[in-house]
Symmetry: C2
Subunit: 160 residues, 2 copies
């Protein structure tokens, strides 16, 4: 079975930038939520991706990801995405044998920086880089869809 | 853009059976609904399919369908499908230059037989076979998810 096992952290300082070895621009759209799962379409440079993520159980969730034509991903972002597109630059940052991904958000979530790492199994030992902040794995306050909803609400409150 | 343009009918008699040229067994699971769109996983014999269907506008809806490993389709049917799996045999029935698909449902929707045909464009003229019943294109009473919900409700009422 295809699983994603992931830990997610806030970022306390900019020190990771010096260690970054690459980056890509991502545009993510939520197609649908179901229970605590979701269907997401992503444009990663020239690659389109359609991903079904199951409900989270601890650090682990079922994940099925398929490469699709970039043009179709672009269309789905335009006509099917529920809510605004999340735009971010994802940096690859090696540390102690692992590749950390640091997501610097733009647009609706500008200011949000999150670091995540994919593990082979849940008990894997992990040396945490010192630029990490608090762990937010599984924290409902850091579910992307809820962050977007909150950002939209405060943007509209700011206008009134 | 990828579109599905489809008309759907009830079936009034069994006369189509003599004209059927092939059939396949389908198992469909709904992963998620969004607005009037849906994400569906299908097992069609040895083929897995992941399909995103947009909201319907008349006869037309955006449709994005991707072949996926059958094993992953099977897993998604088992762990992610929302509600019961819809099982049916789909018969191909040629008529007047078109291939009609006649779906004979089993399990939760046993007794339901629907015929559909895919069109090239919305205004395409269509010679209707005489075994067709009433057209139900876009009829909310024949949305698969609602039919399943209703079947479940009457099954549980029957038990009490």
């Amino acid at each position: 079975m295809a699983f994603e096992i992931e830990r997610k952290f806030l970022v306390a300082s900019d020190e990771w930038r010096a260690a970054a070895i690459g980056s890509s621009r991502l545009r993510d759209g939520l197609i649908a939520r179901f229970g605590s799962g979701k269907v997401r379409v992503r444009l990663d440079g020239e690659r389109g991706l359609l991903t079904v993520k199951g409900p989270r159980a601890g650090l682990r969730r079922a994940e099925y990801e398929y490469e699709i034509p970039a043009l179709e991903a672009e269309e789905m972002l335009g006509i099917l995405a529920d809510g605004p597109i999340v735009e971010k630059t994802r940096f690859q940052v090696p540390h102690a044998g692992m590749i950390w991904e640091v997501d610097v958000h733009e647009g609706i979530l500008a200011g949000l920086v999150l670091a995540e790492v994919e593990l082979e199994d849940e008990d894997q030992e992990l040396l945490l880089p010192k630029w990490l902040g608090r762990e937010v794995t599984g924290d409902p306050a850091y579910r992307k869809a809820d962050l977007v909803k909150e950002a939209l609400a405060s943007a509209s409150a700011g206008r009134s």
